[in-house]
């Protein structure tokens, strides 16, 4: 019984469907947070969730079952039967960039809070003309 369930979930199509649905669900959770929350840190968390959803979507769909990691070693001397390394390299770069941007944003938010005591986007009104 359990084996047949596991076998079902181990099919490429099923895995990809789950990844797509899950990551898109996560994306909309983030989008909802971005649009509904007004606390600056919560908005940043929502942006982080959206980012992660896109990363999971990309990595999950570009992964192919049954292939090895893209590394040359004793048993593998050619680039055959290996996963595509480009999505991983891309997403690693994107994760680093995204983290840097969020860290910068939170440092802005902290400085802003220290100066004005405000931590919500709808209270930000230094410019009212």
């Amino acid at each position: 019984m359990i084996e047949s369930i596991l076998y079902y979930f181990n099919q490429t199509e099923v895995i990809k469907t789950i990844v797509t649905l899950g990551s898109m669900g996560l994306f909309f959770v983030g989008l909802f947070g971005l649009l509904s929350q007004r606390h600056i840190i919560k908005v940043f968390i929502s942006i982080g969730i959206m980012e992660i959803a896109v990363f999971i979507f990309f990595i999950g769909l570009s992964f192919q079952r049954g292939l090895t990691a893209p590394m040359l070693g004793d048993a593998h001397t050619t680039f055959i039967q290996m996963n595509d390394p480009i999505p991983h390299a891309m997403i690693l770069t994107a994760i680093v960039i995204g983290m840097a941007v969020l860290a910068l944003g939170i440092s802005f938010a902290i400085e802003y809070y220290k100066l004005t005591g405000k931590n919500r986007l709808d209270e930000m009104n230094e410019m009212k003309n």
Partner: protein, 484 residues
Amino acid sequence: MSSIYFIALPLLFGFATPILAKFGKNGIAYSSILLQVALFVLSLQLFVTMDRSIIEVIAIAPPLGIGFVVNSISLFFVMLFTFFILMASLYYLKLRKLNPYPNEAKFFILINMLLASTIGLVLSSDIFNIYVFFEIAGISAYILSAYRKTPKALEAGLKYLLTGAVASIFLVFAIALLYLHLGTLNLALISQGFTALDSDIKLLISLFLLIGFGLKVEIFPLNFWVTDIYEGSDAFTDALFSAVVVKAYLFVFFHLLYLFLPNKEFTLFLLYLGAVSMLIAEVIALRQNNLKRIFAYSSLGQVGLLFVAFSMQDVISISAGLYILLAHSLAKMVLFLSLASLFEHYKNEDISLLKEMNSPFLRNVIIISMLSLLGIPLLAGFVGKFLLLKTVAFYGLFGLLGLLILSALIESIYYFKIIGLLLIKKETKEQFHPSTLQKFVLLVLTLGVIFVGVAPFAISDFMATSASVMLDTQSYQNLLLGAN
């Protein structure tokens, strides 16, 4: 190989700052300017020696590697950006006597990062590199925006960063979809494979690109915070945003759009989006009081006009777009730089500043650049607007023509209001003279405005070549794929 210098040298400058700081207080500032002069001379040299089409391509085996393409259109932008950032840095040399940025070494690193990343954006022929440069330009712009760490500046930086972070998510999404469907990041290969894709996917990718770049180029439904960003940042940084950063994003967006265009309706949509964007910006600008805000709305209007020009997909309209872009960058540079001096001197950012200011030189250059933005004949803005309206009329899009003329009329109302305030006699007040270097910078930019207006034929060949290169995606593909 010389195009790599445009990106590598400004980035390496950051690592050299600890050494340069040892050469005294001005070491970093002067070496930064020296670097920018060198890059500008290099771009001029490339311009002189080019054979009017393609100069060089650096590519490591096309399907995999990094590529930089220097053709006449990307060289146009490289010259533009190095020139404007050089001018801004020269202007800052005197501005720093009045009110320097704290921790100047960082400031110069950021300026050079901005230079490297905007040039990288226009030269890259690999969509993931475009994403990386997109982010570098974004991050340096956020920090420049919030640099003063006043509540206003921090609010502007936060808003810029939030919109930028959302923009980058949509760009990554578009890139992920492209890679999943086509298995490549190379622009030429994407361009080849794109037509065979399902039309829904094509539209989805284009929409994500539009959202990603639209948040950066200040197009209508996505520009709700742009004016706050302009108002909160320094006028000096606004000059860079308006003349350099936005232009880089705008060019890359249309470059990508031409390479993988979903369908005809999408460009028609962009055409009207641009026109509506312009109209709305000009209407809102009428009610503003803060000078930075007024010129921010005018920037939004001009971006709308540029959207119209680039969406027409016609050689004449694209060269019109390039003229408008050049004229707008020159004029906004003059306006924001002179405002930076005036704000420092009078400590007033409202429109009432114009009543109390007494500075004949600044008044004259401001008036000339505003008249150019309006499109008065014999000034730079006229050429582009005239060509564009001619093309729009030629294609029989009279509704669009009406929208554009209406927004130009509304634009003229508040422009003439400002010019009227500038022309009030103020002999009683003490005169304010900018320093000689600042006068020189503003004079060079204003002479540029007049030169392009009086003798547009001097560069019309180059503009037409650039426009046809931008439109000719087939030769771009051949160039990139046959380059190794």
